[in-house]
Amino acid sequence: MNRSSKVIEAENLKVVRGRVEVLDIPSFYLADREILSIIGPNGSGKSTLLLTLNGLLKPVTGCIIFRGKEINSSQPVLDFRRRIAMVFQEPLLFDTTVFNNVASGLKIRGIPREEIKKKVLEGLEQFKIVHLADRSARKLSGGEAQRTSLARALATGPEVIFLDEPFAALDPPTRQSITADLEGIIRETGIAAVLVTHDESEALRLSDRIMVVNGGRIVQNGSPAEVMNHPANLFVAQFVGMESVIAGTVLACKDGVVTISIPGGGIEALGERLPGEEVFCGIRPENVVIDILDPTKSMKAGNVFSAKIAAISSIGPFLKVTVNCGFTLVSYMTRGSFTGFKLALGEKVFASFKAEDVHLMSERI
């Protein structure tokens, strides 16, 4: 990627609050037309990173480079802020009409009335809130208010939009429809976006790249598939829903197949490891298959364990089935196959997964 295709770059960003270093980012970039998600638990520093990136929080060291120009020295902060936009979790609307709210960023820039009217109407249409134009912002539902806030942010035609958990306070259907509309608008206009969220499914669905932040540091930075399937460590694994993690020791490694000894058995995985090495085997729940018949007869790779169903809980259309086979495995099953197998708590089953679905991690943190 060449330099000009990067919208925002930063190096050696450090933010200190009190005497505690709350952010330490050695390097950061956002590419043109890219949607980047920053995920991490509460208090991990992701919102601080966002505020630093959009110039609202001054770092102790490091600086933000916007389209190749350093903010503060060759480009004033105000000029930079007028080319970006930000939406918070709270809609933070002004006590006036929806129309005036959407117009506020344009009014701040001293744009002529007629042009404001045109742009506001466009924005209202994009977010399907034209009928609310004259409504008081105090009398909107949560979804309508967040639509207004998004329309207000995008009305100024920003080159980058920063989104700080904008959907976190919304109910699932509202969240779905707003996310879909926003994604459409972002892809259509081609503006770059940084989305902070603690919802990994939202990040998966929207982003080109995911950055995992914990304790003010970047723990992993990669494509959604990479982060989901190959988490850098146990923390990320847990955060992205890799629910089964088994500790073991490498017994042997031959032809790219690693045999790992675990309490009460062995696991085969793909990769290169040294015998004696301590590893953690991570398996995503959707890759664990539960069966009532022994699948060894039909399957070559030998990660098959006889197990007992230990817990069942519902997650939307799926069932989360936890089985005990000396260690714990978690599997997602459809309700259909669960009832088809006539399964119940305490029932004996076979749990299996492929060697290629085992992700090996050596670091705990």
């Binding site: 505020l51 959009n54 609202l56 105000l78 802020r81 007028r82 970006i84 936009a85 930000m86 918070f88 709270e90 933070l92 002004f94 006590d95 006036t96 009409t97 506020s104 960023g105 701040i108 820039r109 004259d134 409504r135 008081s136 912002a137 009398k139 207000r152 942010a153 100024t156 920063f162």
Partner: protein
């Protein structure tokens, strides 16, 4: 009972005949307290906003002092303004003791902490992220303050009403630094005190009614402004 009824009856006569002296007293009250309120609004809202928006050492002490100032006894203010303006005092050379100007100074001193205290509370009560949101919309710092004041307009108008209410009804300071001089520094409150002291209850009641009506009218006007143009 007769005393009260008689008093009320006579007071209405005074009101409807538009007694020149009463009219003069009323206008002076409005002028002194109105000017004092305007001064306190300028000082109170601007300093209050600066205090609310910035972090600095001693802020808590300052805000506590302002909040204490909201209940400043008018006679104490009167006393200090009087000492300052006394012939041998630091500002004695101005020669403004026992003038309406002295009354305006005293009343502005009473109203400023009231306006400032409510302003600080109103601005601090706005959502913390609102400032960041306004800045991220591309606002300059001045534009941001404009937005914040507009968002806090209801409590700010309440601050103006509280400030005006505090000074139009105040008597201690006005008597001390104004002197209640007939036709010069006599206002509704000081006149009421004097007339009732002399047993002229009809006049006192008339002045009292005017005072209440005047306060109501001003507050009604401010309330109309406060509640206007709120969208559906």
């Amino acid at each position: 009972m007769e005393l009260i009824l008689d008093g009320i009856l006579k007071s209405f006569q005074l009101l409807f005949t538009l007694n020149r002296e009463v009219l003069g007293i009323t206008l002076l009250s409005l002028q002194v307290s109105g000017t004092a309120t305007i001064i306190s609004v300028f000082i109170g809202i601007s300093i209050g906003t600066v205090v609310a928006l910035n972090h600095f050492p001693g802020k808590r002490v300052l805000v506590s002092l302002v909040n204490t100032g909201m209940g400043l006894p008018p006679v104490v203010v009167g006393l200090f303004v009087m000492i300052f303006l006394w012939r041998n005092g630091p500002f004695g050379f101005l020669g403004i003791l026992y003038t309406p100007t002295a009354m305006i100074i005293a009343q502005a001193t009473i109203a400023t902490p009231i306006v400032m205290g409510i302003t600080i509370a109103a601005i601090q009560n706005l959502p913390a992220d609102l400032r960041l949101q306004i800045l991220s919309l591309g606002a300059t710092r001045l534009q941001m303050v404009g937005f914040l004041l507009r968002e806090a307009r209801l409590p700010l108008l309440a601050a103006i009403m509280a400030g005006f209410g505090g000074v139009i009804s105040e008597v201690g300071a006005s008597i001390m630094v104004g002197g209640n001089i007939k036709g010069y520094s006599r206002v509704l409150t000081t006149a009421t005190v004097m007339e009732s002291g002399m047993g002229n209850f009809d006049m006192a009641i008339a002045l009292g009614i005017i005072l209440v009506l005047l306060t109501f009218l001003v507050n009604y006007l401010l309330t109309v402004i406060q509640q206007r143009e709120r969208p559906r």
